[in-house]
């Protein structure tokens, strides 16, 4: 990879405030990502392909798909976020950018939060935007699709945040990809349960406010705690050699 494609993080001076540093990290990650457009596309293609497997593998019947569609979309979104997590720190680890980030005077957890946000904007958000199309393809009704998009909008940042911990823990290990899935999938279960539970409640005509509030609580919890754990894990992985 040529140096031009990966600009260095320019935030070395101590006079840069934490917020400005976060902005810098975020902007850099976006810029790097848009210079490697294929990497942006891959999780989305994966998402579409996994969803395609279900009508082919289980049943193309409208009754089955409209019943299971929300669950299928949620599982597919979860898997494609999981697949993209490897990119979160890997390239920065390989070329040494990550070590520079750790050495910054700004708190590491804030910089990681910025990186995770960038990861979500680059993978989670496009998944949410693609969901209505796939929702129509699995015969969900309009109301269900709207609620599904809303749950994914709240849920995918949680997936990115929890995933950052796993990505930081498995950084630089052999067979990191499989290990990452083993560590992270059990922690994703609550998000999945409430994500699909909300859509099921909406389909039955029940009020979804309480479900959405709980998902919001997950998001707040992950937003406040996960960056600290990821920062601790990152320091350990970097000291690993």
């Amino acid at each position: 990879m040529n140096a031009e494609a990966r600009p260095a993080a320019r935030l070395a001076s101590t006079s840069v405030g934490a917020l400005a540093a976060m902005k810098g990290v975020f902007a850099r990650d976006m810029r790097v990502a848009f210079r490697q457009r294929q990497d942006l596309l891959n999780p989305l293609l994966f998402f579409v392909m996994v969803v395609t497997l279900f009508p082919l593998g289980v049943s193309p019947e409208v009754s089955f798909l409209s019943e299971a569609g929300a669950g299928i979309l949620w599982v597919a979104a979860l898997l494609s976020v999981l697949l993209s997590l490897d990119h979160l720190f890997r390239h920065d680890f390989d070329d040494g950018t990550l070590e520079q980030l750790v050495l910054q005077p700004q708190p590491l957890f804030l910089l990681i939060l910025a990186k995770t946000l960038a990861h979500w904007v680059l993978t989670g958000l496009p998944l949410v935007m693609l969901t209505p199309v796939l929702g129509v393809m699995v015969h969900l009704d309009g109301n269900s699709i709207a609620v599904l998009c809303l749950t994914l909008l709240i849920g995918t940042p949680v997936l990115s945040l929890i995933g950052a911990i796993g990505a930081a823990l498995t950084l630089g290990l052999r067979s990191a990809g499989v290990l990452l899935s083993l560590l992270i999938i059990p922690l994703y279960i609550p998000v999945l349960i409430f994500g699909t539970g909300t859509v099921a409640a909406a389909a039955e005509g029940a009020s979804v406010g309480a479900y959405l509030a709980l998902m919001g609580a997950f998001l707040m919890l992950a937003l406040t705690l996960a960056p600290f754990a990821a920062a601790a894990a990152l320091r350990i992985s970097l000291s690993n050699g």
Binding site: P186, I193, A229, I236
Partner: protein, 247 residues
Amino acid sequence: MWQFFHKLGSPKWFFGISTRFMPWLLAGGLLLLMSGVIWGLAFAPKDYLQGNSYRIIFIHVPTAFMAQSVYIMMASAALVTLVWRMKLADVFVKAVAPVGLILTFLALFTGAVWGKPTWGTWWIWDARLTSMLILLFLYGGVIALDRAINDEKSAARAVAVLVLVGVVNIPIIKYSVEWWNTLHQPATFKLTEKPSMPAEMWVPLLLSVLGLYLIFGWLACVRMQTEILSREQRTRWVKEFVTKGRV
């Protein structure tokens, strides 16, 4: 107090003191477990509803109970590893993770065996079963991460972070699974809502839980001693122990 705390950090001191405790742990554990299980299997009264099949409770409940409390012990040790960098704490986490995995597996297995005559099925996606299965995954993850990192110190600290993240998640997973279950299927199989047990049933159950606790303590000591010997193999006391047979 502080002296004791500092001594806990010394593998050599632990090695000596645990050698003295271990026969008592094993003997007490075997005695309690045997008496609990024999009492439960042979002498406790039949359940009026389930007949004799309920007797697996004397194995099922102790393993399920231990499977969860081992994780809590691991989490406490993980906190100690991260905060005080105490050597013994990460030896403990590494030593007991496989034991926890096997206890969880046994709890699931005996649960399945019990489920067949009682519920008519080996497996049901019930809240408790599912959360135990997730606990099994968490143990598996901890062991896999520990094996994947070559450097001992970073492995210990990475595992500690993972165990603590897991412990924050366990209550969330547990409640989410329970709500998920009640959302989709009404509580058909509330096995826990039985008339309170007579003493002839819960006393042997308590004995076998305590017995398994002691045996776990013994097993943890054995595994920790092995781990200590391999980690400290370059020190003089280990060489003396290996050649002369005492600390």
